[in-house]
């Protein structure tokens, strides 16, 4: 490995969080962003091909050294580390809506899921997986939510583009702004059936 790759390895070891390439550039005044990226590639190959228990993962826009999945069970048995608690189905469904529709308000989430969302939104905010990104111009200026880098980290994604795309799902994605079921729609349907 080059000295730069070794320096990056040391920095990633010291930081207990994903570190962005931009942050890694500041390690060495002579290194360019491209050189850092090349060194990261070298480090990844080093871990992957030289028989290491750890690997380099790109998470939420940053890089982190993590253990290989095969060792998780043994590490947990020895109580040297533990997995993150799993998300509840309600949390996952709410995150799914927010991830694809962000920025999105509570009313839209509730409309899609058919259940109240205030409790689950609060828990997701407390876990740092979503954040308020602004307010809608609509009536009452409701809060709008979006996902955080921690959300990407939790799913092991580099960015939102790593989420499954429309064509990979069995059901085609609806357009970003679907027709909301308002009283008017219902009334129209009723009149149509009544006519």
């Amino acid at each position: 490995m080059t000295p730069l790759a070794q320096l990056i390895e040391a920095a990633l070891f010291a930081a207990a969080r994903p570190v962005t390439a931009e942050e890694l550039v500041t390690l060495d005044a002579d290194a360019s962003l491209d050189e850092v990226r090349a060194a990261l590639g070298q480090l990844r190959e080093h871990y992957d091909f030289d028989g290491h228990g750890v690997e380099l993962l790109e998470l939420g826009g940053g890089y982190q050294v993590v253990t290989r999945p095969a060792f998780a069970a043994a590490i947990e048995r020895a109580q040297l580390g533990a997995r993150q608690p799993r998300l509840t189905p309600a949390m996952l469904e709410t995150l799914a809506v927010i991830a694809y529709r962000q920025p999105v308000g509570r009313a839209e989430i509730e409309e899609i899921r058919g259940v109240s969302a205030s409790g689950v939104l609060r828990s997701l905010q407390e876990r740092g997986l979503i954040e308020v990104t602004g307010r809608s111009d609509g009536m009452g200026r409701p809060l709008l939510y979006g996902t955080t880098p921690l959300f990407l980290e939790l799913l092991g994604l580099a960015d939102l583009n790593n989420l499954p795309r429309a064509e990979e799902l069995t059901i085609a994605l609806q357009p970003a702004k679907p027709q909301m079921a308002g009283p008017d729609d219902d009334a129209a349907a009723y009149v149509a059936a009544d006519a």
């Binding site: 580390g81 533990a82 998300l87 899609i112 799902l169």
Partner: protein
């Protein structure tokens, strides 16, 4: 718990609904009880509806509303009230759709707008959300197997609830706080016991001979602050018991103590 368990011909299915399939043990228990479904295993009315459609192998685009509405109503019949509103709202939608489907359709060949269209759209949309949630769940599981450095399990050492402290704990905590102050200003506090009983006896003695008196008459010649406090507490206690009445004839006027409240103060 019993309210959320009902007997119908349904069993929550596992992989298709994606999230939180029942564990083998739970499935075995469910099986041994006959056909039992726990409504709390559904994350909402749309989930329950999708489940019913799958059970009946129904094409989502052509839902037999009457049958599904009846099944939906049967399924939520024993639902705990805490979640009922959301399910009831869906039930009322379904019943209305059922009625709409019974209405005669337009005769003159005009395009007939299917009243189920909105429901179908919502179901498809929700099914898609379920699919994404399922994918996310799997991604999170894969990610959770990769432990980052320095990750320690959350500390289980929370203080026992409810917090219990005895006087000794409290005093030693005070000691620690005082010890951390560089130049503590310490006061010695002398306890001056109040004599509420004595003051009450004096008030009762005065009331025995007089119909009313100004409260300061119950004080001795040179009252101390604890004498005044004792008297005030005694008066409040006697008034609470209904053994005397306190009247303030005018703003800022001294309190008048009366034996009874029947006559107005002059």
């Amino acid at each position: 718990m019993t309210a959320s368990v009902l007997t119908t011909t349904l069993v929550p299915d596992a992989p298709a609904s994606g999230i939180a399939p029942p564990s083998p043990e739970a499935a075995a228990i469910l099986g041994s009880l006959g056909f039992v479904v726990r409504l709390e295993s559904f994350s909402g009315p749309l989930d329950l509806l999708l489940h019913l459609l799958r059970e009946e192998q129904i094409d989502i685009a052509d839902i037999p509303i009457a049958r599904i509405a009846d099944q939906f109503l049967a399924a939520i019949k024993h639902l705990g009230l805490n979640q009922a509103a959301e399910y009831l709202e869906m039930a009322s939608r379904l019943v209305r759709l059922k009625i709409q489907m019974l209405l005669p359709r337009n005769q003159d060949g005009e395009a007939w707008e299917d009243p189920r269209a909105e429901l179908v759209r919502r179901l498809l949309e929700y099914q898609q959300v379920r699919e994404i949630a399922h994918w996310m769940s799997a991604a999170a599981d894969r990610r959770a197997l990769r432990l980052a450095r320095g990750y320690l399990p959350p500390s289980p050492e929370l203080p026992p609830l409810p917090l219990t402290l005895d006087l000794l704990d409290l005093l030693s905590a005070v000691e620690r706080v005082i010890a951390s102050i560089l130049h503590p200003v310490l006061h010695s506090v002398v306890a001056r016991p109040l004599n509420v009983e004595g003051a009450a006896l004096r008030v009762q003695a005065l009331l025995a001979e007089r119909e009313e008196f100004v409260w300061t008459s119950a004080l001795g010649p040179s009252p101390t602050i604890s004498d005044v406090l004792s008297l005030l507490l005694a008066l409040l206690e006697l008034a609470r018991r209904g053994q005397c009445f306190m009247i303030q004839p005018a703003v800022f006027a001294p309190l008048v103590i009366r034996r009874d409240s029947s006559r107005p103060a002059h």
